[in-house]
Amino acid sequence: MNIPQELFYSKEHEWVRFEGNKAYIGISDYAQHHLGDIVFVELPEIGAEFAPMTEAAVVESVKAVSPVFCPVAGKVVEVNEALLDTPEKVNEAPYESFLFAVETDGAGKENLLSAEAYAPLCPEEEETL
């Protein structure tokens, strides 16, 4: 499982990249792998405001609908519109496929995990039935 060092992670498998007071948010390699083929994304409106870990976007695989949480407090300033037509990019390159970016004061950052702390939440082997 690919877990880049320079990113932060939520326990719900979002990744966050900070650039100044902006935070870019996507879903982790582990999350995309578990969802399977992603065929639809729903993005927030520019200007929408979110408290930490509230639902901000939706990704849908063939079988399932999954919420994407905004891990830090903020106001949406950018959305990745290209994903509306090419949702499969989230599978192919999860860390290059941010869903949206928020302008943030950093609230919620204290609960994010480093790559090292996040790795144990991504077991390679699934429990065998």
Binding site: G36, D37, F40, E42, E60, V62, K63, V65, E126, L129
Partner: protein
């Protein structure tokens, strides 16, 4: 999860990289290489499905034919020995008990394949209504079932048998096809909208057959999980018990009127109710629709017309081969005309959609396009 039931292919599926899930109490693979890839493979080449969780009930005896006629809503007189027939079975009010396939092995012997989730219910229903002296046997655990589906299905399966598979026509079967040294029932049936076969074989021969098919098929075939089984059946508009047909939704409401034969002489459960529905007493129907706005319709989402909730989505998803978000919904009759504007309520928002007809996948339209 150790209490999950396993099919004879459990070890094979793990070894092939199957992602196992709890499917109605069975450990079965939801996917291998990915649902979209598997879906495409079956539409273009061939796929191997473990469907051993399905139930098999054997009905045998002098009164077998009369009994089967009294249970199924379709007409057994439309087939002969060596043929199979699809039929819903119904309650007296027309609601659906299950849908199944009846194989006529002989005039006095029928092999009936039922949905996994309904094996006990169907078996009880049969026993409840069977006349004395008739043998009704649940042989589900003795039978392994594999499906080989896709345009290359026949070519692949032919590599491991001397039986001329081209002689088995659609919804016909042969009960004595020699495969891996054992005799199997092979029918030209399936649940994908493609050509293909379903194979019933003694459970202990199953794993050898699995290997033989994959070895002979090489790159032309791969195992397929339940995820793609559902997208394939959905895209071909094949009904699924518990969705399009339920205890509350009759097969006529679901658009399966063709398989309901109240004109047959024999009485059967639901005959009067279904006859009335076929003659026009329908108040609601399952219809096809396609999304106009952005969104994937999912089972259970409400459907509204002009702000008023009027029905719900029975099956809906992204149809991979057609590349569209579409579905089936049950709606009051006045909203079932093609062209009717409806809204699917997705996460509290009204997303526009349109009732249509003939938008689902058929391999005939595909071959025309390719010609």
């Amino acid at each position: 999860m150790s209490e999950l039931k396993r099919t004879p292919f459990y070890e094979k599926e793990i070894a092939a990289g199957g992602k196992m899930i709890d499917f109605g109490g069975w450990a079965l693979p939801v996917q291998y290489e990915g649902i979209l890839k598997e879906h495409k493979r079956v539409r273009e080449n061939a796929g191997l499905f473990d469907v051993s969780h399905m139930g098999e009930i054997l009905v045998k005896g002098e009164e077998a034919r009369g009994f089967v006629q009294s249970i199924i809503a379709n007409d057994l007189d439309r087939i002969g020995t060596g043929q199979a027939i699809y039929s819903p079975i119904c309650y007296d009010d027309g609601g659906t008990v299950d849908d199944l396939i009846v194989y006529q092995i002989a005039e006095d012997e029928y092999f009936i394949v039922v949905n996994a989730a309904n094996v006990e219910k169907d078996f009880d229903w049969f026993c409840q209504h069977a006349p004395e002296g008739l043998t009704v046997e649940n042989i589900s655990s003795e039978i392994a079932q594999l499906a080989v589906q896709g345009p290359k299905a026949q070519e692949v399966l032919q590599r491991i048998t001397d039986y001329d598979l081209s002689t088995i026509k659609f919804f016909h079967f042969a009960a004595n096809v020699k495969l891996v040294g054992s005799e199997a029932i092979v029918s030209r049936t399936g649940y994908t909208g493609e050509d293909g076969f379903e194979i019933y074989i003694n459970a202990k021969e199953g794993p050898a057959l699995w290997d033989a098919i994959l070895d002979a098929g090489k790159d032309d075939i791969a195992p397929i999980g339940l995820g793609a089984r559902d997208t394939l059946r959905f895209e071909a508009k094949l009904p699924l018990y518990g969705h399009e047909i339920t205890k509350e939704i009759s097969p006529v409401e679901a658009g399966l009127g063709f398989f309901i034969r109240p004109e047959k002489e024999a009485g059967f459960h639901g005959k009067a109710a279904l006859a009335a529905q076929k003659e026009g007493a329908l108040t609601r129907k399952v219809v096809e629709f396609e999304m106009v706005g952005r969104g994937i319709p999912r089972e259970g989402y409400p459907v509204a017309v002009e702000g008023k909730e009027v029905g719900w989505v029975t099956s809906g998803m992204f149809a991979p081969t057609l590349g569209k978000n579409m579905g089936l919904a049950i709606l009051p009759k006045e909203f079932t005309e093609p062209g009717t504007k409806i809204d699917v309520i997705i996460r509290g928002r009204s997303v526009p959609a349109e009732v249509k007809k003939g938008i689902f996948y058929s391999k005939k339209t595909k071959s025309k396009k390719n010609a």
